[in-house]
Assembly symmetry: C2
Homo-oligomer: 210 residues x 2
């Protein structure tokens, strides 16, 4: 068993609070007023801030404080540009003989179950997991880490969306179709589908901003 350590625990709590929407983008995180609820000292809290800043979930304005990151349309467009590059490359170069679709399939199934239950936040989580699994096909730990960072940041754009169902539902079926195409051995066609998928996803996300 791992022993998280106070700093790592604070990081986890803050990250979950942001993903669950309890901390809206743009809100200021005061150091002194957070030491109490998190039960850590100011120094440890600053260390937790540092890692979250490196992950892009927080931004620091010197001598002014740290704020929950809020993505501009330009930043979202940048994220999708990178996603197209990473995911399509990984999928089109993935082995097809045999295909390694186990991770994709479980993510798709999770998304389907969550959609049936109407839990759109869980659908979003499963969808992000699906895309992380696509990048995992490249077999690069570094790309995996970067992709996790991308999905974490992108979720900040989800929590403020007024219509989460519109944001996540259309993509469950697309995930299934892409996975099936890849399982059938046609990685390049799956990658083409994925590219279209990402472009429409970008439009949907940009259309759901405040």
């Amino acid at each position: 068993m791992e022993k998280p350590g106070s700093a790592a625990r604070a990081v986890e709590q803050l990250r979950n609070a942001m993903i669950n929407g309890e901390l809206a983008p743009g809100t200021r995180l005061s150091e002194t007023s957070l030491t109490g609820p998190l039960g850590v000292s100011r120094n440890t809290l600053r260390e937790a801030f540092s890692t979250l800043i490196e992950e892009g979930l927080l931004v620091r304005q010197p001598h002014r404080g740290v704020f929950v990151a809020s993505l501009s349309p330009a930043q979202i467009a940048d994220i999708y540009r990178v996603r197209v590059l990473l995911e399509c490359s990984a999928l089109s170069q993935a082995p097809t003989d045999p295909p390694r679709a186990a991770g994709l399939r479980t993510a798709v199934d999770d998304a389907g179950r969550a959609a049936d239950a109407g839990d759109w936040r869980a659908v979003g989580t499963a969808n992000m997991h699906f895309h992380e699994q696509i990048v995992a096909l490249a077999g690069s730990p570094r790309l995996d880490s970067w992709m996790r960072q991308l999905t974490a940041e992108l979720r900040l754009a989800f929590v403020t969306a007024p219509d989460p169902e519109a944001l996540h539902r259309p993509f469950v079926a697309m995930n299934d179709a892409i996975t099936s195409t890849y399982e059938a051995g046609d990685a390049h066609r799956a990658a083409d589908m994925l590219r279209d998928y990402l472009l429409t996803s970008e439009r949907v996300v940009l259309g759901n901003l405040p």
Copy 2:
């Protein structure tokens, strides 16, 4: 003018010390014994460590200390896999009408001058700058940031090389050729050349490990 702040200054000093080879990979950085030379307190030093760990230049072994990262052959192979993906994509999709080769050209010139002077460390710096400029063609701030991180880590593999000339000299001419091909408007051929370039570079780096 910017006012770096103590933590940022310590980060800069440590990073330069690593790039210049004064801190060999694998050496242990004791907290107490570094507060003196850097003139910062232990807490500030730990914050500096945190950022360098996030950048991949240091690694922390819990309750044992922080060490200068040393790249395993597998990690170097991973870096080159990612470089091929990023750089070749950026170059093949770069605009050719007109080509935006100004940044590339200045980096090539810098490398040439440093090679004439026999300053191989400066040649390596200019070469890394060349590749950062290639990724910059994609126009993505995020990719720029990731690429800077890659080059910084890769330099850790350079400082221990027994023959720095063999590590950097062959690539000055190749940079020139790739830039000329791109300037002539053939981005795809330039990308193909770059791919071969990177594969041979990987072999050279792996052959120059301790």
